[in-house]
């Protein structure tokens, strides 16, 4: 089953580069996404490790793989509608007077499928070396996705993404070597970099090196996850990529990088460095939320607004994991809530962009009258992302806050709450204004096609349901993952 998860999208990607017809290619994308989700849903039956234990489905992998798979499926349906509507040939750039073309759909769909393959590999890998290889591969295959619209803004974003993430991940490779030094305490018996072996031999790991390794993993994979102050590639890439790519980058890729940090966190905990690692996570988390708050308030570009909101939520994930106890399961639940909500918002932003032809929030007015369904999705997404009840994000953020107070971290809790308040005000002031008012004369009421609104509608319903009731299998997965991370 695990082989299938990796090879179905890989084979489909190869096929996508080879076949001629765009229509067939789009069918292939849907088919591969469906297969992947079906395989992911079969985890009720446990699957064994493959490749000598280098790939395995542990609770963390299972949890995030299911999430990634579902998101990709929704993204695939949206992408098919999007690609059908995209006209081919030279197009006029609406931000500047210039023409540009799109990358061939073969490249786009092929890279999208390779992206799924590499993300699956990241999540399932149990060996730190393999994790690194797969993580760098996600950067490389997603770079062409950002450069789908071939104009110079997207090129600039692609370059920054490639360079900053590659350098960041190179530092994580150094973390790998530090981990190897920590594991080879005595030269006679050295521990392999398999996660299980490291955790089992946690007490034998050398303390200073494991601390250094954790710092480098946090900085390296944190660059990719979008933790401040190394998040600078993120707003550019998210705002210039096609909306479906932004939704996958934000909803799936950032989680993959987070899982990379979680793997290092597990080992650090096993080596008795729990307090050290937790403090660092809390620090990076709060700094990220604060950075995001500063840039969200008064943000002019609504896609950048969503990107900074991703920085904020990655900060919340780090904070929740760092606080320990019940906050860890809060963070796990929050990962799902954030991914689903952010996918909804990016998809909706894509719909808005297609009709209004501007990314400037102040030029978008009267969303309700022009595109009622997208308007509804936008407001619902806004409420969900800012943690408004009854959405799932409220539940998860509240769990984290409650746990912070219970453990007596009043300062952290207060800072968290105040920053969330600022972000709520900043975000809603910009986003709510877009829905009301008089529509610009140039914009005609648009017909909203099902592929553009059905996937986000399904996802936002899921977020709403998660706020009311967390289904037992999800709850079970979530707690098993949280227990591994020293929470409950």
């Amino acid at each position: 089953m695990l082989w299938m998860l990796i090879f179905v999208p890989l084979a489909a990607a190869v096929a996508s580069f080879l076949i001629r017809s765009d229509a067939l290619r789009r069918m292939l994308l849907i088919a591969a996404a469906l297969c992947h989700t079906a395989a992911a849903a079969c985890w009720v039956y446990p699957t064994g490790p493959i490749l000598g234990g280098w790939f395995d489905i542990d609770p963390i992998a299972q949890y995030f793989l299911t999430l990634t798979s579902v998101l990709f499926l929704a993204g695939a349906f949206y992408a098919v509608g999007y690609l059908k509507a995209e006209q081919t040939g030279r197009k006029k750039d609406f931000m500047e007077d210039a023409f540009f073309i799109n990358a061939p759909q073969a490249v786009f769909i092929g890279c999208l499928l390779l992206f799924l393959t590499t993300m699956t590999m990241v999540l399932a890998s149990q060996h730190f070396g393999l994790l690194w290889v797969a993580m760098e591969a996600t950067t490389l295959v997603s770079a062409p996705l950002i450069y789908f619209h071939r104009h110079h803004r997207s090129l600039e974003a692609t370059w920054k993404y490639l360079l900053i993430c590659s350098v960041g991940i190179a530092l994580a490779l150094l973390g790998n070597f530090f981990l190897a030094i920590a594991a080879s305490g005595t030269q006679t018996e050295s521990i392999s970099l398999l996660r299980n072996a490291l955790i089992a031999n946690g007490s034998k790991l050398s303390t200073p090196w494991i601390q250094a390794a954790f710092i480098f993993f946090l900085v390296g994979y944190g660059t990719k996850m979008g933790l401040a102050p190394l998040h600078t590639w993120l707003p550019d890439a998210h705002s210039e990529a096609p909306s479906v790519v932004s939704s996958l980058l934000s909803g799936a890729l950032l989680n993959c990088a987070f899982v990379g940090i979680l793997r290092a966190f597990e080992v650090a905990c096993a080596a008795g460095q729990t307090a050290f690692a937790q403090d660092l996570l809390v620090l990076f988390g709060l700094v990220s939320i604060a950075f995001a708050a500063v840039f969200i308030i008064g943000q002019a570009d609504y896609k950048r607004l969503l990107a900074y909101s991703s920085v904020e939520h990655m900060g919340i994930l780090a904070l929740g994991t760092g606080l320990g106890q019940a906050a860890v399961s809060g963070a796990m639940l929050h990962a799902v809530n954030h991914s689903l909500t952010k996918a909804v918002l990016f998809m909706t932003a894509g719909n808005i962009l297609a009709v209004y032809k501007t990314k400037t929030a102040s030029r978008v007015r009267g969303l309700f009258s022009v595109m009622p369904v997208s308007g509804l999705l936008w407001v619902a997404g806004l409420l969900a992302i800012t943690g408004f009840p009854p959405f799932g994000t409220f539940l998860s953020e509240f769990t984290i806050l409650q746990s912070a107070v219970e453990q007596g971290y009043y300062g952290t809790a207060a800072a968290f709450l105040i920053l969330l308040g600022f972000i709520f005000i900043g975000f809603s002031a910009i986003a709510l204004r877009m829905t009301q008012g008089q529509k610009p004369e140039s914009v005609q009421p648009a017909c909203e096609r099902p592929p553009a609104v059905v996937p986000p509608l399904v996802l936002i319903t899921a977020v709403l349901l998660l706020g009311v009731y967390v289904p037992e299998p999800v709850n079970d997965m979530l707690h098993r993952a949280a227990v591994l991370l020293g929470g409950r």
């Binding site: 770079a143 803004r153 974003a157 590659s166 150094l174 950048r304």
Partner: protein, 211 residues
């Protein structure tokens, strides 16, 4: 002794990268560095078939394929030198010895659990690593930044060698493949940048920011 010679080559190539404005020369210097580094595992460890394959591949890649790919990009672009980096070449040549001194100072303070093969390995590896980072931040030219990334990668790789740790061959090859695809993709990106902007100076990439 051969290890020490290869260490000296690493130091000299690092310095040369700092002081060279001609891009073609820079590419060649980094290639020499890659080859010197590729031989290193054979000098440090015993001969094993897996190690031999890996050393061979990495020498081919860093010594022949990368220079060819980057040289081709250079010819397409018709850019031959970097005129105005953020930090001038003279000053950069002063920064080099400072970085070397710093890495020599810090290396003995690292509590390694066992002795390394040569006392020069760790300081040189750290120097190469920091040098790579320095080149990335002090230069504007996109191609030089890629070279900086390669130097950084070389430094990390040398560090891995120094701690006498080798990962399973499959992982080593995976890392090599990633670096290869990385340079390949960056090369394509540079080509597109030159088409779109008529230059490859990254300080001109300022369209995207918060207003």
């Amino acid at each position: 002794m051969w290890t020490d010679i290869s260490m000296v080559i690493l130091i000299l190539t690092n310095m040369a990268v700092l002081g060279t404005s001609r891009l073609r020369a820079c590419i060649r210097i980094v290639a020499v560095q890659g080859v010197a580094l590729g031989i290193l595992p054979l000098l440090i460890h015993r001969f094993e078939p897996g190690l031999l394959v890996f050393a061979f591949l990495s020498i081919i890649l860093k010594g022949i394929i990368f220079p060819m790919m980057l040289g081709r990009t250079l010819r397409q672009l018709n850019v031959w030198r970097e005129d105005a980096p953020y930090v001038g070449y003279g000053l950069s040549l002063l920064v080099g010895p400072l970085l070397l001194a710093f890495s020599s100072w810090i290396s003995p303070r690292l509590p390694l659990p066992y002795s390394v093969h040569s006392p020069m390995l760790i300081p040189v590896a750290l120097f190469t690593l920091m040098n790579g980072l320095y080149v990335i931040v002090s230069r504007k030219n996109a191609l030089t930044q890629v070279l900086g990334y390669l130097v950084l990668e070389n430094g990390i790789y040398a560090f891995g060698m120094a701690v006498a740790y080798h990962q399973p061959l499959l992982i080593e090859l995976g890392i090599l493949l990633d670096v290869f695809v990385g340079v390949f993709v960056m090369g394509i990106a540079i080509f597109h940048i030159s088409r779109q902007f008529d230059h490859i100076d990254t300080d001109q990439l300022t369209m995207l920011r918060d207003h």
